[in-house]
Amino acid sequence: MEKIYSEEKNACRLTKVSSETIRFLLDYSRSLRVIDYKGFKFEAGLN
């Protein structure tokens, strides 16, 4: 049934990204650590 509505939903203009996307970005930011070692920068994802 949900397919019937999918096209109309997609036709709507998107003005703000979803809260899931924002949540993902904030979680990503919290998990990312950049380690500086002798001038080299390493990225580390903390799960």
């Binding site: 096209e7 998107l14 990204v17 924002i22 990503y28 919290r30 650590r33």
Partner: protein, 193 residues
């Protein structure tokens, strides 16, 4: 009166470890950036993806300490988004995406290059008609045409096999085609499907 903290202050706070500052920045500019991306790509899912990739770049740059405060935060983020939009279109040019809809026809995407039954019959008919016409050509021209078209030989190979120069073989091929067209015109034959 609502007091708004300046972007540059939030960026500095974020760099020094205040994760909340990032949330404020994202929420503050969510609408501007989303509308900008959507106005270019006109697709909700792609907009979400590009927005996400944009902020992943922002987060990485800020955390690595590579952000210079020369410009303003929003124009900088918009520039990243703009570059990612260009990347998206470049990528899609190489690998076109199929726009699905309710009347989605899978054969429009994965259609094979074989002819359908009707076109195959027409092609066979044309081939056999052409075979009859070729028989009408003078022997030397017919020989060159058959070697070139049906046996896929190069003019060098044809010249070696027939014992004539390449130029002569080329000339015979040319006359073979001219004469074929003459025969077709003379008898009002229509070979196209």
């Amino acid at each position: 009166m609502k007091l708004e903290i300046d972007d540059s202050v939030l960026v500095r706070d974020y760099i020094s470890g205040d994760e909340k500052a990032l949330e404020i920045l994202i929420n503050r500019h969510n609408q501007r950036i989303t509308s900008f991306i959507y106005s270019k790509v006109l697709d909700r899912d792609i907009t979400e993806d590009i927005f996400q990739d944009t902020f992943i770049k922002v987060i990485k740059t800020l955390k690595r300490g590579s952000y210079s405060e020369e410009g303003k935060f929003l124009p900088w983020v918009m520039r990243i988004a703009h570059n990612l939009i260009i990347d998206h279109f470049r990528k899609n040019k190489r690998m076109p995406k199929f726009e699905g809809s309710d009347d989605f026809n899978i054969f429009a995407v994965i259609g094979d290059d074989k002819l359908n039954a009707e076109r195959q019959i027409i092609k066979d008919q044309i081939d056999s008609d052409l075979g009859v016409l070729i028989e009408e050509l003078p022997e030397d021209q017919k020989e060159v045409l058959v070697m070139r078209i049906y046996r896929d030989m190069s003019f060098k190979e044809i010249s070696e096999n027939t014992g004539v120069s390449i130029n002569t073989a080329l000339g015979r091929m040319r006359y073979a085609l001219i004469n074929l067209r003459k025969i077709i015109n003379k008898h009002n034959i229509v070979l196209t499907s």
